[in-house]
């Protein structure tokens, strides 16, 4: 399954997403590319009723997830009753159409 690429500092082990030229923790310059694990936990979320132009829906749930290997990323939460701390399983689906092209991104569903 396609997913995002995150970065682990070879000096201090700090995990970053998105990419930075210098480690945000130790200013290190060498990184190992890593993928997020398949599961994580919801850190915070919002249910958005007023979405921007081009997304014709209401009630999209957006949330920040911390994967089990420490990667943190925003994504679309595909569960009607989100709660902080809930376990989620990652997916990779179209999240927006930009200039007529489907753009894929992280989606999350409830799991144990």
């Amino acid at each position: 399954m396609k997913t995002i690429t995150a970065y682990k500092c070879k000096d201090c082990g700090h995990v970053m997403y998105p990419h930075h030229y210098r480690c945000l923790n130790c200013n290190g310059l060498d990184f190992k590319e890593i993928s997020p694990t398949t599961k994580g936990r919801l850190l915070t979320y919002t249910i958005v009723d007023q979405l921007p132009w081009g997304i014709d829906e209401r009630g999209r749930v957006l949330g920040v997830v911390e994967f089990d290997n420490g990667v943190k990323a925003l994504g679309v939460i595909k569960t009607a009753k989100p709660r902080i701390g809930m376990r989620l399983k990652v997916g990779w689906q179209p999240v927006r159409v930009i200039s007529g092209e489907k753009v894929y991104g992280l989606t999350f569903r409830k799991t144990k």
Binding site: L43, Y45, T46, V64, V76, G105
Partner: protein, 394 residues
């Protein structure tokens, strides 16, 4: 560095201004500041324009060049400064540096935005363009959505309630009724926006837990200040209000990368810088204009600036300490919530309000005996923040 004086201030009412172009609005505000300074035929060395997105909102670029032409200020230097919702604050900072360094003697700073030229969802999209393109924007994230996620964490950690959020909206809209420049001229009640069984019709969800009345309106508007040296200001015979402290700090582009997302690090650092430069402490401030684009921000910023300790901002609000007649009035202008938030204008409009307050020219919303003021202009979602301390000289 030379002391820098705000010798003139000017604004136009923030509202929906269909009849005026962006450059019209910038010119009117700029002219008002020049008149207020009683500048006469002295020439202006440089013009800085704070504006976030004239290209996307209005299909016009190089607005600073257009402005000097409209005002007839050539050959003054002219630049547009873009820093998202803190574009106005950044323009003020650049103007300040020009005069403080001795490079310029008289500088006009104008902030403005014409957002109502596009429909609401497009304005939301234009503002969302400041988010991270791959890690945030593609998901449909909006600034209210980032604020919603922040609010949920802040409520959980510090016990802030929906009632506290509504108190900010009610207070600032009450203040707005006393400000002829404020976009929203409407009294609201706790019952009408929160506690009545049908309050959700008046104040629907925008980005849960934030509702309509937790968010600033989308406005058109412009504000301007004319800044100069102490020596020239004395000749102009206007009250002397100096920019005594300036601070600016940044934070991660995305909210998720902050080790504690409820910590507004750039607010803390920029405020500390501004206080240190001014030789003042938060307790020395008599009036503050904070960046309440969302009600939660007024509470959180009041703590991060140092006015109240962490977790105590909501109580201070509930106790009435931040009302115009309170111990530390916050947003007597009505703030972004009532005055409106034409993004590039806000940081300048905050300084205009402080100058009016420190001169004793704020009319019905005048804060008593105010001689030290503070403003905070919050760019992105707290990833680029400017803080200013203004002082009325005896």
């Amino acid at each position: 560095m030379r002391p820098v004086v705000v010798a003139g201030v000017g604004m136009i009412p923030f509202e929906r201004r269909d009849e005026d172009s962006l450059v019209d609005m910038l010119a009117m505000a700029g002219w008002n500041a020049m008149e207020d300074a009683q500048l006469g035929d002295r020439s202006i060395d440089a013009v800085y324009v704070g504006n976030m997105a004239s290209g996307l909102f209005n299909h016009q670029e190089s607005v600073a060049s257009a402005l000097v032409d409209r005002l007839g200020l050539m050959p003054a230097a002219a630049e547009r400064i873009e820093n998202g919702p803190a574009s106005g604050g950044s323009a003020v900072k650049n103007g300040f540096l020009g005069v403080a360094s001795g490079f310029y003697d008289i500088v006009l700073v104008v902030g403005g935005e014409k957002m109502r030229e596009v429909i609401g969802p497009k304005a939301t999209d234009v503002v969302a363009c400041m988010t991270h393109p791959q890690a945030e924007y593609i998901y449909g994230v909006t600034l209210p959505a980032l604020a919603g996620m922040f609010t949920r964490l802040y409520m959980e950690k510090y016990g802030v309630t929906h009632e506290h959020l509504a108190m900010v909206a009610i207070k600032n809209q009450e203040n707005g009724l006393l400000n002829p420049y404020a976009h929203i001229q409407m009294k609201i009640t706790m019952e009408g926006i929160l506690t009545h069984p049908q309050a959700h019709i008046n104040s629907p969800i925008v980005a849960d837990p934030l509702r309509l009345y937790d968010c600033c309106p989308v406005s058109d508007g412009a504000a301007a200040i004319l800044i100069t040296t102490e020596e020239i200001a004395q000749k102009l015979k206007r009250p002397i209000v100096t920019i005594a402290g300036v601070g600016q700090a940044t934070d991660t582009h995305t909210l998720q990368e902050r080790s504690d997302p409820t910590d507004l690090r750039a607010v803390r650092i920029s405020s500390q810088q501004a206080f240190k430069m001014a030789g003042l402490k938060p307790k020395d401030i008599h009036v503050a204009e904070l960046h309440d684009a969302f009600t939660i921000l007024e509470i959180a910023e009041s703590e991060h600036v140092g006015f109240f300790s962490k977790g105590k901002g909501a109580k201070a609000l509930a106790d009435g300490e931040t009302r115009i007649d309170g111990k530390l009035p916050i947003n007597p202008s009505g703030g972004l919530k009532a005055r409106g938030h034409p993004v590039g204008a806000t940081g300048v409009a905050q300084i205009v309000e402080l100058v009016w307050q420190l001169r004793g020219e704020a009319g019905e919303r005048q804060v008593k005996d105010a001689s030290n003021g503070f403003s905070l202009n919050f760019g992105g979602f707290g990833n680029n923040v400017l803080a200013f301390v203004l002082r009325r000289e005896a």
